[in-house]
């Protein structure tokens, strides 16, 4: 197995965060257990957006569509009695992949602002679709009776079990994504981000690579959606709303795009800030807004760039 190239400081940050997360359940506090489960799920969504945004240079403003679709797939299947995670979770991924193939095939014909607008439009279409889909709760959303089952192997209705499952999946996805970005495919994607015209003249069919990248990203978001449905035991259109796409974008930019780990830290910071500040005021965005401006102005590579002190390739 080839070793991953990683500067030492970055390794240290990564390792300490992972170790800290591994010990959260030992405190035994249900509130924190649930909070950090949620954070890890959003960390995966942020990572998935970073694959297309930070590495592929595709600014998608509709990423919540895949997240929400994954959640709805699990929720709707549960209504039909399909409780097995072995069926429901791959189904969530598959549905997201199929949708991404359609949305990507259309959106990637454009670029820049048009790409942002088209992805946003698709996501909002999907939002209003579920918003008006009364059979499955419409604007109110719908509850799930229980979490998915694992053929008796593990019981994720136990919060600690679910926590460690999410933790395991997150670490696995991070590892796979780090490999992916150093693979030949990853090099092509980053080449397209930096200079698509040159990539074409070198002989790469750039559209195809971008589309596959878009689909991979959506698959991860779809899986995260399946997890959030299990976490909240409730599925609602708010998962697909454009403000949710905005939140995910903020996580990526705040944390530092093009680093995979950064956006995960961004999810951690954003959700913790929200948790703390919303205890004082419901207008917690008033504090977060200026913070984001400061980061964008003075720390181009986000929180992760500040911590690791190295410039990312972006």
């Amino acid at each position: 197995m080839a070793k991953l190239k990683f500067p030492r400081l970055q390794q240290l940050i990564l390792l300490s965060v992972v170790v800290l997360l591994a010990f959260v359940p030992l405190f035994g506090d249900l509130f924190y257990l649930r909070l950090f489960t949620r954070i890890m799920i959003y960390a995966m969504v942020a990572l998935s957006l970073d694959i297309i945004l930070g590495y592929g240079g595709m600014v998608s403003f509709g990423h919540a569509a895949f997240f929400g679709l994954g959640a709805y797939t699990v929720g709707i299947l549960a209504r039909f009695g399909v409780a097995s995670a072995f069926l429901a979770w791959p189904a969530a991924i598959l549905v997201s992949v199929l949708l991404a193939a359609v949305i990507g095939a259309v959106s990637l014909r454009t670029g820049g602002v048009y790409f942002i607008m088209i992805t946003l439009a698709f996501a909002q279409m999907l939002y209003y679709f579920f918003f008006s889909l009364d059979v499955y709760g419409g604007s109110d959303g719908m509850p799930m009776v229980a979490r998915n089952t694992f053929a008796g192997l593990i019981d994720i209705n136990r919060h600690t079990t679910f926590y460690y499952l999410v933790f395991g999946i997150m670490v696995l996805i991070l590892f796979v994504a780090l490999r992916l970005m150093q693979s030949r495919f990853g090099m092509v994607i980053q080449g397209i981000r930096d200079n698509e015209r040159r990539m074409r003249s070198l002989g790469f069919a750039t559209y195809r690579y971008k589309l596959v990248c878009f689909i991979i990203s959506a698959a991860v978001a779809g899986l995260a959606g399946a997890l959030i449905a299990n976490q909240t035991l409730y599925v609602s259109p708010s998962f697909l709303h454009w403000t949710r796409s905005g939140d995910i974008l903020i996580m990526v930019i705040l944390g530092g795009m093009g680093s995979l780990v950064g956006p995960m830290l961004g999810a951690l910071c954003l959700l913790l800030t929200e948790e703390v500040l919303s205890g004082y005021t419901e207008h917690w965005m008033i504090v977060l807004g200026p913070l984001l401006i400061v980061v964008v102005l003075f720390a181009r590579h986000g929180i992760y760039g500040l911590l690791a002190g190295t410039k990312q390739s972006g």
Binding site: Q182, R197, R198, S201, L202, G203, Y209, S313
Partner: protein, 238 residues
């Protein structure tokens, strides 16, 4: 806009064929049309007996047409060797390979190193391309085009913006291509053109006004008149 009005050009295998002409003659447009970045409204582009007039850029590249750009077009965040490796990778099967480290393909890496040696950049292989000097970036630009192992190399003003010393180095690099590669060279530097070219075509307002050997072009009255608009001092100088 009609830029290339009437261009009838045949490029002979193994030759360096220079295209010269005053600003606005359509030299860069010609390269863009050959590479496929611009589609011609009419006419035919044949490459090794195949009609490629309607092929997109990446397919022409796969057939063996590579180009370099007048304005340096590299991947500034990658190291020099990674830039070239990416170009090698383009001609080394598809890149839907998601797991193995891209830097672990020894055949690709070796090919990239060889090309870097050819243009004299092997000492700077690990430097980020954005940190290379202008002259080195121009060399890298050529290296990337070469790395796709092209049958036809389209070079758009490789000496653009270079000092005397850097130009010398570039001329040496290009001389090394003679006989091995087929090159279409667009260049303003007459020194370079008359040193390197086996054949020269003069383009004025989208029309070919003369094609021939260096000596023929130097003594062609129409070229002196149309291209220089004066007594042909630049040609004499060269």
């Amino acid at each position: 806009m009609m830029v290339s009005t009437q261009i009838d050009l045949s490029i002979v295998r193994g030759e360096i064929h220079a295209v010269i002409g005053p600003n606005g003659a359509g030299k860069t447009t010609l390269l863009a049309q050959l590479a496929g970045e611009l589609k011609p409204d009419a006419g035919l582009i044949e490459f090794m007996g195949q009609d490629i007039s309607l092929l997109p850029v990446h397919k022409r590249s796969r057939l063996g047409i590579a180009r370099s750009y007048q304005i340096t077009s590299i991947f500034p965040g990658f190291s020099a060797v990674d830039n070239v490796a990416l170009a090698v990778q383009a001609g080394n099967g598809h890149s839907f390979r998601f797991w193995r480290d891209a830097r672990g393909y020894s055949a690709v890496r070796e090919a990239a190193w060889k090309v870097l040696q050819r243009v004299g950049l092997e000492q700077r292989a690990q430097v980020r391309a954005g940190h290379l000097s202008h002259g080195e970036q121009r060399q890298l630009e050529i290296a990337m085009a070469l790395a796709t192992r092209p049958k036809l190399l389209l070079l758009d003003e490789p000496m653009a913006g270079m000092g005397a010393e850097e130009s010398e180095r570039m001329i040496a690099t290009l001389r090394g291509l003679k006989g091995e590669n087929t090159v279409l060279l667009v260049e303003h530097d007459m020194d370079a053109v008359f040193t390197l070219a086996d054949r020269v075509t003069v383009l004025v307002y989208g029309r070919v006004i003369a094609t021939g050997s260096v000596d023929q072009i130097r003594s062609d009255a129409a070229v002196r008149k149309a291209y220089l608009g004066d007594e042909g001092s630049a040609l004499n100088y060269a």
